[in-house]
Amino acid sequence: MTTLKLDQVSKLYRATSRAGGLTPALRKVSFELKPGEVISLIGESGSGKTTIGKVLLRLVQPTSGTVTFDGKDIATYSGRGLKDYYRQVQGVFQDPFSSYNPIYRADRVYDLIRESYFPKTGDREWSGKVEQALDAVALNPGDVLGKYPHQLSGGQQQRLLIARALLLDVKVLVADEVISMLDASTRVDVLNLLVKLKRQGLAILFITHDLSLGNYVSDRTIILRHGAIVEMGATEKIFGNPQHDYTRMLLSAVPELHKKWDHSPLGPVAVSARGAAVAEASQDGAPAATLARAALLDEVTHAEQVVKRDLRAVLGGRRAVASGRSQVAVALEPPALREFEPDHLVADPE
């Protein structure tokens, strides 16, 4: 059983702004990815979801914590061992259009794999392997081989890249926003392909900000906020009975075809000095709630600031993103996860 396991993984990025300091991108994240399992990693921008993918692919080194693959710490891999790791763990990324070099034919990505992983494979055997991989992603070799990237649609390009991962002995696929650039009509084909691969035993980490897509493919769901897990468990439990306020807020904001948002008009706003609008309106009663909600949405969506603001709250008014080691240690502490029901963990409110 090849499981990929994250244990208390944290990552601090050094801020580049004048204020300096460190931004916690991941705060003690732990979970396991088993064979034949699809986990959706859902979060808004700045929640750290892409950082998790990068840590798994060893593109980013965690500040603390370990990632183990088959019980072995992936940080210890180097040389041949690392190459072997990449044979089993591969990533596909958001933008297929920039994953190809436009001056070469698209299938050059396969030649590169052959050069480094299968130098002894004969031409005939190799083309058989390529055709098999293309068949698995429902592409017709005649349609795509020998073409330049601009001659292929986004969906075809993305599927070519998934087929590239399949050429290797891949056990884990990190799929980072793989369908957000695709049109609705081709999107579903890539999703269904992921479902098919999962049934063949592939473990997939499906990173997305789109809740309905995550729900469609995954067995388990992890909701991330500010680098920490706020809710985690079986997909139907998370979507059917969300417990954390943040998960509920996310779900209520998803645009659905057959259900309208309950849009409540904003009340009148007097011309006033800065910041006074909320207080003034609140005297009239109703409009204040909506204004407050607008302000809340504003806060929630500005991850970087909220990270700071929230941590400030956590630290009880002290400067939140500090470079001092002890303060960072406090800032890193994620809210505690509690079991709400079997296979459904919910974080305490921050």
Binding site: T186, H209, S212, W261, H302
Partner: protein, 322 residues
């Protein structure tokens, strides 16, 4: 009718000849209407939006007429269009996130904008600007910030405020919600509705590939395919009883919250839209359409099959006639 577009065709010049990206498009917008314009990438939806405000050097209008508030827009004459931009027609560009200049503070950008449009009573407009900022929960210290100091959602809202500051009759919002998180998406979508309700914009065209967002904010939806309109109807009709096979397939390919792969298997639309360099005669969806028959080799008329519901499909016309 506050806006009407008749038979509009727009072509891109290319070394292989003109590529007609928008081909004989007809629609009208009532006062206070938000129309959604949806389609796949390359369907011509952004070209149509841009044509109503600014034809760049590669583009030319090859026919048609656009009227806003009873006056014809001189869309081919960029110089004559200039005073009408922002006042009559305004655009929130695609990638609005990067539309703000990085070297100037927001307040200065807005000031420059007002100056170049020869706005007489600038203090009044600036007071109004502050009022609108407060309305959507931003404070006016945003004006002394650079664009990179704002988050994506704030930048998007600032661009919408700038585009609507002079109360245009028609606002073209190109993919305004596409690069945003769900909660910001909702805030921006509701802001658009709110601005319409308050009359800051008379009517709007929201261009996006995301039908679920349009279901929230639009009063009516037009579906575009390979440069032509395939269907146009009220939002309710498009979402619940679409008639054109393309619209039906598009709606069927959208996963909804709560739907999982082991319950429902969604299907995509096989094939790709035809190239617009030498488009095939007849219905352009023909090759991907499960219902195509002999007559589809002729171009179907875009006609009203039910009150307010226009479709370009032979099968639908036949069924409605029968």
């Amino acid at each position: 009718m506050s806006v009407s577009v008749e038979n509009l065709s727009v072509a891109y010049r290319s070394h292989r000849g003109d590529v007609t990206a928008v081909d004989g498009v007809n629609f009208a917008l009532a006062d206070g209407e938000i129309m959604g314009l949806a389609g796949e990438s390359g369907s011509g939806k952004s070209t149509l939006g841009n044509a109503l405000i600014y034809l760049d050097q590669r583009m030319k209008a090859t026919g048609g007429k656009v009227t806003v508030d009873g006056k014809e827009l001189p869309i081919s004459d960029s110089r004559a269009m200039r005073p009408l931009r922002m006042t009559e027609v305004s655009l929130v560009p695609q990638y609005a996130m990067s539309a703000l200049p990085p070297t100037r503070k927001i307040g200065r950008v807005i000031n420059d904008l007002l100056k170049s449009h020869h706005v007489k009573d600038r203090p009044a407009v600036l007071t109004e600007l502050k009022r609108r900022l407060e309305l959507i929960g931003l404070t006016d210290d945003i004006l002394s910030k650079y664009s990179f100091e704002l988050s994506g959602g704030m930048r998007q809202r600032v661009t919408i405020i700038m585009s609507t500051l002079l109360n245009p009759s028609l606002l073209i919002a190109d993919e305004v919600t596409s690069a945003l998180d769900v909660s910001t998406q909702r805030a921006v979508g509701e802001m658009l509705i709110e601005f319409r309700n308050r009359g800051y914009v008379k009517s709007a065209i929201a261009i996006t590939h995301d039908l679920a967002i349009l279901a929230q904010i639009a009063d009516s939806i037009a579906i575009m395919y390979a440069g032509r309109l395939a269907e146009r109807a009220s939002t309710d009709a498009i979402v619940n009883s679409p008639l054109h096979p393309y619209t039906q397939a598009l709606i069927a390919s959208l996963p909804e919250v709560g739907v999982r792969h082991d319950q429902v298997t969604l299907t995509g639309i096989p094939g790709r839209p035809p190239s617009l360099v030498n488009p095939p005669a007849g219905c352009r969806f023909r090759d991907r359409c499960p219902f195509a028959f002999a007559r589809c080799t002729q171009t179907p008329p875009f006609e009203e099959v039910k009150p307010g519901h226009l479709v370009a499909c032979w099968k639908v016309s036949q069924e409605q006639a029968a």
